[in-house]
């Protein structure tokens, strides 16, 4: 088993300030960046703060930026780097820093609460749900999400514009809206809740300019833009920008908040 000394720069500090600190640390065959961070903790910097849990790419805790790219530390193998290069690790740069590699991801939990929950279909008891695989395939893709928040972190709408955090839910939670809108038994529409419309009105879908960074960084390989955000935009078009639909609604004098034509 071969090992070598690698050079690292790790951001250390807190909300009052901080900077990149240099480390030289041993790297063994088959290791990932998180192993190196752990070795730093055990040998050089016992109080180096980092979030991690499963170390198998399933929980989405160890999100950070490696050489400027949003990654899961546990799924970034050391073998992808040149042995001579200095590897930079920083915390996620879209969220307030707490300490070292740990950031305050409260923004995401806040946004999660703003998406109205699944509405169970009236008249169906537990055990009576019938759904078909071809219908659940679409929302199941979105439910692969491990909530690592890398998409939320990389999305320039909030990464580069703090002020947009108020109006914009971010790719993860727009995808949640899409998931519920595509859920075969979600009965939101029956209660007067038009999810396609709320995506635009309440969750800031219009801010998305589909530049696809969310899809690029997704460790689960979810096609966030193509399969969730763009279909949502198209659903919003169905309701708001289709002149035929608009004309119809004017002629029949339907209230503004009324249901758009049924999706099927």
């Amino acid at each position: 088993m071969s090992s070598y000394e690698a050079r690292f720069q790790v951001w250390r500090g807190d909300e009052r300030g901080g900077g990149l600190e240099d480390f030289t640390v041993e790297v063994h065959d088959g290791e990932v960046v998180l192993d190196i961070v752990h070795r730093l903790q055990a040998t050089q910097a016992p109080d180096l703060a980092v979030r991690w849990n499963c170390k198998a790419g399933k929980c989405g805790s160890c999100s950070a930026e490696v050489n400027g790219r949003p990654r899961l530390l546990c799924m970034t193998r050391m073998s992808v780097f040149d042995r001579a290069e200095t590897i930079t690790i920083t915390p996620l740069r879209a969220f307030p820093v707490i300490r070292d590699l740990v950031t305050d991801v409260g923004f995401n939990y806040e946004k999660a609460r703003e998406v109205p929950a699944f509405v169970p279909p009236p008249g169906l008891g537990p055990g009576e749900y019938r759904m078909f695989q071809e219908d659940v395939d679409r929302p199941q893709e979105f439910r692969k999400c491990i909530e690592c928040f890398l998409c939320q972190n990389t999305c320039h709408v909030v990464r580069d514009h703090e002020e947009n955090k108020r109006a914009f839910a971010g790719p993860r939670y727009l995808m949640r809206v899409a998931e519920l809108d595509m859920h075969p038994l979600d009965a939101a529409a029956e209660t007067g809740l038009d999810r396609g419309r709320t995506a635009q009105d309440d969750h800031g879908l219009g801010y998305c300019n589909i530049t696809k960074c969310c899809t690029e960084v997704c460790p689960e390989g979810i096609k966030i833009t193509d399969n969730a955000l763009i279909p949502l935009k198209e659903r919003a078009v169905d309701r708001k920008y289709d002149p035929l639909v608009w004309l119809g609604s004017k002629i029949r004098r339907r209230p503004a908040g009324g249901r758009a034509p049924a999706a099927d």
Binding site: E15, G68, E162, E163, P184, N209, T211
Partner: protein, 273 residues
């Protein structure tokens, strides 16, 4: 500590007060600028070429081939093309190149296309230039305001693009004639047109709006097996939307250039039979 942490309300991006104190707008070490640079170069080249060709108002017909930039030809000042796509809807008042009228539609289709939007937002607008690279703008409202809110009309350009693709298909059929308008012949130009029309159709059908219309808008695929299959088919094309956007862009320019070369007499269309 609890889930209810309020997001900070001061403005700014990665260098906001609350974020990790890092001065650099990004720390990427790879060649992140390469993709936007190539996109910009490619799109610019096409814009320059197509502007020249669209305003040239010449060398767009060499029987039996009509340049896709000039088809259908909707003004009186068009060259008459035998059995060709002449449809004099605009009458005689239209003075400049007839290409301008019709190019609005494919241009609009591509301008509002979900892929091209990504491409030019990144390459020209730097919004963002690349993932996790800070964008230079002070404010950003995305597609929530005029004029970018108009991107939502993509669907109508898609309908128009279907019609245009139909006409180009007709043009391709006409390309199976020779210079004397006799049927049953083929030349190199016919192949160029065939390749172009296949790519144009593939690009048009791979459109995200198309995917939505054929089936994506449904909640229960299980109740609509035919549309489900159509959606799956479009979905497979859609996965290659970027590739098709570029290849069809190149092919349409090539088809036009081919007509130009033949029409301007640079060389004669090699005939196979």
């Amino acid at each position: 500590m609890a889930t209810g942490t309020e997001p900070q309300q001061n403005s700014g991006g990665v260098r906001s007060r609350t974020r990790a104190a890092i001065a650099a707008p990004h720390l990427r070490t790879d060649r992140w600028w390469l993709a936007p640079a190539c996109t910009a170069a490619g799109l610019l080249a096409f814009v320059v070429y197509s502007t020249w060709r669209a305003f040239a108002n010449a060398d767009y017909y060499a029987a039996p081939y009509v340049s896709p930039f000039y088809s259908p030809c909707l003004a009186e000042n068009c060259r008459s093309m035998r059995a060709g796509p002449n449809a004099d809807l605009f009458g005689g008042w239209w003075g400049i190149s007839p290409a301008i009228i019709i190019l609005i539609f494919p241009l609009g289709f591509r301008l509002t296309c979900y892929y091209y939007r990504k491409a030019y937002y990144r390459a020209f607008w730097a919004s963002p230039p690349a993932c996790a690279v800070a964008e230079p703008h002070r404010t950003y409202t995305g597609e929530t305001h005029f004029p970018l809110v108009l991107q939502n009309v993509h669907r109508y350009f898609f309908y128009a693009a279907l019609l245009v693709a139909g006409v180009l298909t007709y043009d391709t059929v006409l390309a199976f004639r020779d210079e004397q308008y006799q049927w049953g012949h083929m030349g190199l130009g016919t192949l160029v047109f065939l390749a172009n029309i296949v790519l144009i159709w593939a690009y048009t059908l791979s459109c995200h709006s198309c995917r939505h219309i054929v089936g994506g808008k449904l909640k229960h695929f299980s109740k609509h097996p035919v549309r489900y299959r159509a959606w799956q088919f479009v979905g497979r094309l859609n996965a290659r939307h970027m590739l098709l956007a570029w290849t069809s862009l190149v092919s349409v320019a090539l088809a036009d250039f081919y007509v130009y070369l033949v029409a301007s007499g640079v060389f004669d269309d090699p005939r196979f039979f």
